[in-house]
Symmetry: C2
Subunit: 211 residues, 2 copies
DNA sequence: TCCAGCTTGTGACATAATTCACAACGTAAG
DNA sequence: CTTACGTTGTGAATTATGTCACAAGCTGGA
């Protein structure tokens, strides 16, 4: 089982590797990949080791090999199709973003409790009313969801998602979701992050322990 | 100098402390604060220690004391007024969010290169054209910025921000910003995070090392 | 008064994450 | 063929982060 930090780096490596492949590059050294991201060459090699991949001292790592292994880890029928709950300001921005973006994951369906917003298409994605949530998520075997509902509804909706079989939630509401241990939750708390950025900004420095 | 993880926790403590204060609670024990967040009681006490705060064994910590010290750390004229660059889908969602939210930080000004979008008011915030960026940021002594421009423009805009005196950037573009060591950057890479969530979702587990 | 039952503060410990440093490797040029 | 150079793979060291466990503190009730 890979750690969270590792998985984040792998995703970042993949983006750069795709770029490199598009530019016709077939092999890459750890120091090049490191320069593109924020990590050291040793870290890249350590990650490759954890993945069980190896390169050659003369040519480095094979770009297509790496991409293939990363796809095996990161792309999965249950993770590349996600549901989005709450098509408000943020939800719509995300729908537009995922639609435009060339990445693997797509928003397969969206839900909203507001009858004005459901039963229509928004940014190329069908928006359904909340009463069909469990049935549709079960039918499509969706396991991953993005939660963009107001704070006070977040826990109740999360509970419904989990009951419908969702095991990974990207939560934008500034609340700690109370779900079982088998469900992975990442809460992106933008208010908190902006306070953190402000903290280091006024001190005119990077955080301790940053390269 | 506090670590990034610590500052994030402090911000989270503050949210709950404000709630408690609004409900008339004057003192709080470490285990209560811990239950509201995702940390242990020992972690809360360690954070308080790092802050130089102390409580009493009988009544716990004084809510107003804590809030006062946290405000001293997190609120600063240079960090509570931020600039937002790029009023596209995401930028507008953030403008609406910060406007509605009761928090300390506010978006004081926004910029966009599109003449259709600048020289108007969006979500209660003036949007200016890019050519006035340096002057306005300097004049208001803005140090913190939120970057919501397309990936290919992110580095150029970041450079301008830094030249204008910005030392903290919350970056939403999936790019490593190349800025000096004295500038703090936090990149929220949503694509990367959704891949991480998917990774753990298909494996039906929390990440290693999570409570 | 004095004790029971909670708390805090913190040294010591445990775990996670990252970097160092170097032997072994592979190629290209001479 | 052989040397020079820059690379990989990885054990060990280092740093960062979180937890344990317990002495000492405080309060309310007997
Ligand atoms: N807008 C931002 O930039 C931003 C930034 C950070 C966090 N957030 C958080 O994201 C969440 C959504 O933000 P927003 O700005 O899009 O808010 P919003 O009010 O614009 O949208 C909320 C949407 O959720 C729908 N909704 C409400 N209750 C629901 C329910 N029980 N089930 C399903 N749908 C429901 C509403 O109809 C609406 O469409 C909030 O929790 C907010 O704190 C937003
Ligand atoms: N929309 C999302 O949910 C989302 C999610 C994650 C990341 N992002 C990232 O955030 C950024 C913005 O996303 P978006 O969806 O709002 O895009 P968008 O295209 O809707 O908006 C971009 C805005 O930036 C303006 N702009 C373009 N070039 C500029 C420049 N050089 N200087 C100033 N303004 C400029 C445009 O006029 C437009 O208003 C992108 O980098 C995107 O990858 C967006």
């Amino acid at each position: 089982m890979l750690s969270e930090k590792t998985v984040e780096r792998l995703s970042e490596y993949r983006r750069h590797l795709s770029d490199l492949q598009a530019r016709g590059v077939t092999h890459v050294f750890s120091n090049l990949l490191a320069a593109e991201t924020r990590v050291t060459a040793a870290q890249v090699r350590r990650d490759m080791m954890n993945l069980g991949l190896s390169g050659s001292t003369a040519t480095g790592y094979s770009v297509s090999d790496l991409l293939e292994h990363l796809a095996g880890l990161l792309d999965h029928p249950h993770s590349t199709r996600v549901a989005l709950i709450g098509t408000g300001n943020l939800g719509r921005a995300l729908l537009a973003f995922f639609r435009a973006r060339p990445g693997k994951a797509v928003i397969a369906m969206a839900f909203d409790s507001d009858p004005e917003k459901s039963n229509r298409v928004c940014c190329g994605c069908r928006v359904y009313p909340m009463d069909s949530l469990e049935a549709r998520i079960r039918e499509d075997e969706i396991r991953t969801a993005i939660l963009c509902v107001p704070e006070q509804d977040a826990n109740a909706v999360a509970q419904r998602l989990v009951n419908a079989g969702v095991t990974g939630i990207l939560n934008f509401a500034p609340t700690r979701l109370k779900v079982g241990d088998q469900v992975y939750v990442d809460t992106m708390d933008i208010s908190s992050v902006i306070e953190k950025v402000g903290y280091y900004a006024v001190r005119g420095t990077r955080a301790p322990g940053r390269k």
